[in-house]
């Protein structure tokens, strides 16, 4: 009985920071990551000197180092050179830059899957490079990249638990605090896992729905 009431009591205590912190953290970070990833992919696709090298360097560094360490560098490291950030913005910065590097590769691959002939046809119709990208290549690439990006989003929801390490009051952090008071580690962490599972399940359903919608519209 005690256990049941503990679960009931803690459920909303954990869920609320989930809604107030985990979800905004994910949504903001992922949106920024899409912008960063798209620009980084376009720079390479367009073969722009120097910027392309810079993009490769960024991807190389970010993908080659652990996310947790990136969080520590920004939150605990940067203050020593005078850059002090609150935990939440620091987490957003790191998650968006981190995911930006991964999605850049996904998006670049998707851009390259669009037949070159359509780009040439675009030039022949008088469009310029950006117009061709925006109206023709990106919409098709988005469709190709969508499943991978959706998976990345789901992964990011779970990865936000790492933000507890830089004192962001998200679900994991809150759960840890309840465990410290009640000593019910197994029950509470299972409960936390269950809440993450709920989030992921909703997103997976959403992904399936969107994929159906996308493939219905102007089948390739």
């Amino acid at each position: 009985m005690k256990i049941l009431s503990l679960i009931a009591d803690s459920f909303f205590k954990i869920l609320i920071p989930g809604i107030k912190v985990t979800i905004p953290l994910t949504v903001i970070s992922f949106s920024l990551a899409m912008v960063i990833g798209t620009i980084t992919a376009l720079v390479q696709f367009a073969d722009i000197k120097y910027l392309k090298q810079l993009a490769r360097f960024y991807i190389w560094v970010i993908r080659g180092t652990p996310l947790l360490i990136q969080l520590f560098v920004v939150f605990y490291g940067l203050p020593s050179i005078g850059v002090v950030m609150n935990p939440f913005p620091a987490a957003i910065l790191v998650f968006s830059i981190n995911e930006g590097a991964y999605s850049a590769e996904t998006i670049r691959g998707a851009l390259e899957s669009v037949p070159k002939g359509q780009i040439e046809a675009g030039y022949c119709c008088g469009l310029n490079f950006l117009q061709i990208m925006w109206h023709i290549v990106l919409p098709q690439a988005f469709k190709v990249a969508f499943p991978s990006l959706a998976n990345a989003l789901i992964a990011m929801v779970k990865d936000t638990s790492l933000a507890a390490n830089i004192t962001v009051m998200e679900m994991f952090m809150v759960t840890q605090q309840i465990v410290a008071r009640t000593y019910q580690a197994l029950v509470l962490y299972l409960e936390l896992a269950f809440i993450y599972l709920m989030f992921s399940t909703v997103l997976t359903k959403l992904q399936t729905y969107c994929e159906k919608k996308l493939s219905a519209k102007g089948a390739r």
Binding site: P115, G117, Q118, E120, A121, G122, Y123, C124, C125, G126, L127, N128, Q131, H135, I136, P139, Q140, K143, G218, A219, R220
Partner: protein, 247 residues
Amino acid sequence: MIEVKGIRKKFGDLEVLKGLDLTVNKGDVIAILGPSGSGKTTLLRCMNFLERADEGTMYFDSDVVDMHKADKKTIHNIRNKTAFVFQSFNLFTNKTALENVTIGLTVARKMDKHKAEEIGKKLLDKVGLSDKYNSYPSQLSGGQQQRVGIARALAADPEIIYFDEPTSALDPELIGEVLKVIKELADDGMTMLVVTHEMNFAKNVSNRVIFMEEGKIISSSGTKEFFEEQKNERVRNFIKNILKKGE
């Protein structure tokens, strides 16, 4: 109207165009024949700057353009006066037939959407696709796709259209519908440069024929003269062989 002089193009060590001259007058329909690999596609691509020539001068209306050095703006201006129909159609697969035709107007020329659609529908009607405005390329046959390609080429009201083997990717039974559309354009007085292997089309529709081999034009004359008084034996054999294959 358009004259090019001394076009040269190399891919690595391979010299694909070896100094070609070509004059196109308004209303000309010029068929370009020649064996595969002779540089026909490359010639058209260089003329539309999809490929950058190593050397060459283009006289387009009153403009003189160094084909190697032409800047973005010059290229853009030339492309505004020309259109290209591709062997593999190259329709925008995320756009409907109508959007394929209008995108150059609405996006590149910022034309009002309704006005552009009016033009687009008229052009699709012209190529016999009145019932396909909202179809996506994947829902169309090859012949229909190529007719959308032609409507798209017409949208910008070009002074000349380049066709690169417009029927080579089509099943035999679909070739006729596309050739018919091109013939109608010829009858309307459209200026066209058509790379083709369709001898009957060349005979009946073009007013001039050019034969290319190994990056050079080795025969060029009026259509009647080309087929009936051809002096070059290799050209005669080439024509004979193709006609035999067609039977």
